[in-house]
């Protein structure tokens, strides 16, 4: 008798838990109740580039929290896309989180983000192309955290070994080809370039093209400019003047460059930290990417913004937090800590003064092109990367047409 009573009790308890779980599904559709008075408890999810970034952000957050009398917890994400996806689905998103420009439109289009940018002081101070990267349907959503751009890094020793001097540093595509041929003649791989749109796309910009229209609503890949750009890259690959990192048995361009497997590489300013940490003995110089045939300078810029969840309970405090994190002084502090560039134009002069060797990266911020800014494009872009991986043997026009066809479906055009 006693045992069956126990079983009943267990069963009842289990049933109770089920009903308790069930209540979680009743979502209120209306605006989330705001708590603007009193101390907030901010949850901040970041996708840190490394320990240095986690520490810098955690320290800055702690400083802000104690100064403003709020509580704030920084969580470094393992896989931010997945963690954020789960949190949004569960209606319990972190209040503030990093949003990569490449994924921004996905989040903005489903209403996950609070368009708060107009409440940030002096929003026009942020570089226009960075603001553009976080614009959806004509509205700027969030404040860019910082930025990085691509440039051309040259290994000083290998450059000399190939008999080249400072006068040979390429500023045009023709010069790049010429220098690469001289390097190749010495049995050195001239250029390592990542096999994705995030590196090869720079050549499109240099030739005045881009994958999509400016508003991100139309695919515009299949144009003569883009075809010429891809044909040029294909020529480099076919001629052995450029190789993908995987062919050089490395994970990314910086590794190939650091190991001395290539004399030049096209990478962003994150390469500084990697070289310092892993290959401190390698001497190199940084230059702006060579311009296209018409003299157009072009590079790619990468950025993340401080997204605030539309469902956050502490939007006012979150905006104040972002304000503090994107102030010029704080951005310079972050720049020193983990090697990114400020997203505010007013901080740029100070940054260049402090890191004069970064001038080519800083110059790129002005003319850099952000990632494709349109929702539902991730699988299309992944498919494009697959096409670019096989660029050496594919037809450039085919790659571009395929992108247009897929993008058209994804964009609903």
């Amino acid at each position: 008798m006693k045992r069956s009573r126990l079983v009943t009790a267990v069963a009842a308890a289990l049933l109770l838990t089920t009903t308790a779980c069930g209540s979680g599904f009743d979502d209120d559709q209306g605006a989330t109740a705001q708590q603007s008075a009193g101390p907030a408890d901010l949850q901040i999810l970041i996708a840190a580039s490394g320990d240095a970034e986690s520490k810098a952000v955690t320290d800055a957050t702690a400083k802000w929290a104690s100064a403003s009398g709020n509580k704030a917890t920084v969580t470094p994400a393992q896989d931010i896309a997945q963690q954020l996806g789960q949190a949004l689905a569960g209606s319990t998103p972190p209040d503030v989180f990093y949003v990569d420009a490449a994924r921004f439109a996905d989040y903005a289009s489903v209403g996950a983000l609070e368009p708060y940018a107009d409440k940030i002081s002096n929003i026009d101070d942020f570089y226009p192309n960075l603001r553009q990267a976080f614009t959806y349907d004509g509205k700027v959503y969030c404040a860019p955290k910082d930025t990085s751009t691509l440039a051309l890094e040259i290994n000083t020793d290998l450059w000399k070994k190939a008999g080249l001097t400072d006068a040979d540093i390429p500023t045009t595509w023709d010069q790049l080809t010429a220098a690469a041929q001289k390097i190749k003649a010495k049995g050195i791989v001239p250029l390592a370039i990542g096999d994705t749109r995030d590196r090869i796309g720079a050549f499109l910009v240099q030739n005045g093209g881009w994958w999509t229209s400016a508003d991100g609503k139309q695919p515009t890949a299949d144009t003569p400019q883009n075809e010429a750009a891809l044909t040029y890259v294909q020529g480099l690959l076919k001629g052995g003047l450029a190789q993908y990192p995987k062919q050089l048995d490395t994970g990314w361009g910086g590794e190939a460059f650091g190991k001395g497997k290539a004399a030049m590489v096209i990478e962003g300013n994150w390469i500084k930290g990697a070289m310092k940490a892993d290959f401190p003995a390698v001497k190199y110089t940084v230059h702006e990417l060579p311009a296209g045939p018409t003299g157009t300078k072009g590079t790619l810029s990468f950025t993340q913004c401080w997204g605030i969840a539309a469902k956050s309970k502490f939007k006012d405090q979150a905006i104040k937090f972002v304000e503090a994190m994107t102030s010029a002084d704080q951005q310079l502090e972050f720049a020193t800590a983990f090697g990114v560039m400020p997203s505010r134009q007013s901080a740029s002069a100070q940054y260049t003064a402090k890191f004069p060797e970064d001038a080519p990266f800083v110059a790129g911020v002005a003319y850099g092109h952000g990632p494709v800014n349109a929702p539902k494009m991730d699988s299309v872009l992944a498919d494009l990367d697959t096409g670019l991986q096989g660029l050496a043997t594919a037809t450039p026009k085919g790659v571009l047409q395929r992108f247009d066809k897929n993008a058209k479906t994804a964009l609903g055009g």
């Binding site: 267990v10 979502d27 209403g111 096989g390």
Partner: protein, 344 residues
């Protein structure tokens, strides 16, 4: 003690029985059945991942997420069909190989003449108890362009491929080597016609070189577990049967083929079924080692489902892919059950 039971002597036992199984029923129901039904609902919607999928206002898509995988010409169908092709080749390679290897290992360990039996048993089982992520990382190093595998191949004068950067299908490569086809100029009969969005040329590629590296990894890690199952079954076979065969003058092969193997039929079915299910669900090796690259040749339905849901925020399609995968597994298991049925 004197109360008269109505409805027969077993009446009370039924209630007690249900009470005893209720914890399991509740736990399974709560953590398996309910989530599966929830996922089924998600696969019928265009839920965007904001808030609960059960609130009003979530657009109902009907079977769109499913039909898109089969009937609409586009990237969704192409990716899905590529993943099915990759996984099918993967299953064809892994299941027979791991079963044969597991059986061989079990026979070796079961050999009465073998010394240091427990050492070999442990050694063979070891890969199965190691974390698949850790092993995957080790294999990444081994199959690196200048890694151990290519170094060994180099000793024999073979220039090893760039394993994880090589999307060429081995079937194409083999036919090219024999001289039947030219991979640079594939026959128009194959490239000109397509089935479900993939040309016949694509369907017949075979697993890519990169996939072969993953296949060898999986065969190596899982054969240990299946060896244990075969070993348990082998030890259950009475040695008299073998001796009887010996007296009748059966050769070693005849004794294995006509005495041991028929006794192993239930275990063989178990191993094949578990292998089939496990290989269709391959995920962690792909996630760690290749993420579907190079050129989508290691994309599998399980990984595609994950990527569609959590990268593209297209939860409906992602859930639909996993249900199609579920159906594939069920159908194949039933077919296999029929094929391996005991014939009277």
């Amino acid at each position: 003690m004197a109360d008269i039971r109505r409805g027969g002597i077993r009446d009370n036992e039924r209630v007690a029985g249900w009470l005893f199984v209720s914890p399991v029923v509740l736990v399974l129901g709560l953590f398996m059945l309910v989530p599966i039904l929830m996922a089924l609902w998600v696969s019928l919607t265009d839920w965007n991942g904001q808030g609960s999928p059960f609130q009003s206002g979530v657009p109902f898509a009907g079977l769109d997420n499913y039909t898109r995988l089969f009937t609409q010409d586009g990237l969704d169908r192409e990716n899905f069909m590529i993943s099915i092709r990759n996984n099918a080749y993967y299953v064809f390679a892994v299941v027979p190989l791991q079963t044969a290897l597991a059986l061989t290992l079990a026979l070796v360990v079961n050999n009465r003449m073998l010394r240091g039996k427990s050492f070999f048993r442990t050694a063979f089982y070891f890969p199965s108890v190691t974390s698949s992520v850790a092993i995957s990382v080790v294999f990444l190093f081994m199959f690196a362009n200048s890694g151990a595998i290519n170094a060994i191949l180099g000793l024999f004068g073979i220039n090893g491929p760039q394993w994880f950067a090589d999307p060429r299908g081995v079937l194409h490569l083999a036919l090219d080597t024999v001289g039947l086809l030219d991979t640079n100029a594939p026959p128009a009969a194959l490239t000109g016609h397509s089935l479900l969005g993939l040309t016949w040329w694509d369907w017949t590629s075979g697993p890519s070189v990169a996939m072969c590296a993953i296949i060898s990894l999986v065969v190596w890690t899982t054969s240990g577990t299946f060896m244990l199952m075969f070993l348990a079954a082998l030890q259950n076979i009475p040695s008299q049967l073998d001796e009887a065969g010996l007296i009748d003058g059966a050769t070693r092969w005849q004794r294995f083929r006509f005495i041991t193997l028929p006794q192993l039929r239930p275990t063989l079915f178990l191993v094949l079924t578990l292998g089939l299910i496990g290989t269709w669900q391959v995920f962690d090796q792909i996630y760690v080692m290749s993420q579907g690259n190079p050129a989508k040749t290691t994309l599998t339905p399980a990984y595609l489902s994950y990527r569609t849901a959590f990268r593209d925020l297209d939860y409906g399609s992602g859930a639909a892919i996993s249900f199609v995968l579920f159906l594939i597994i069920v159908v194949l298991t039933l077919l296999q059950r029929r094929a391996l049925r005991e014939r009277p």
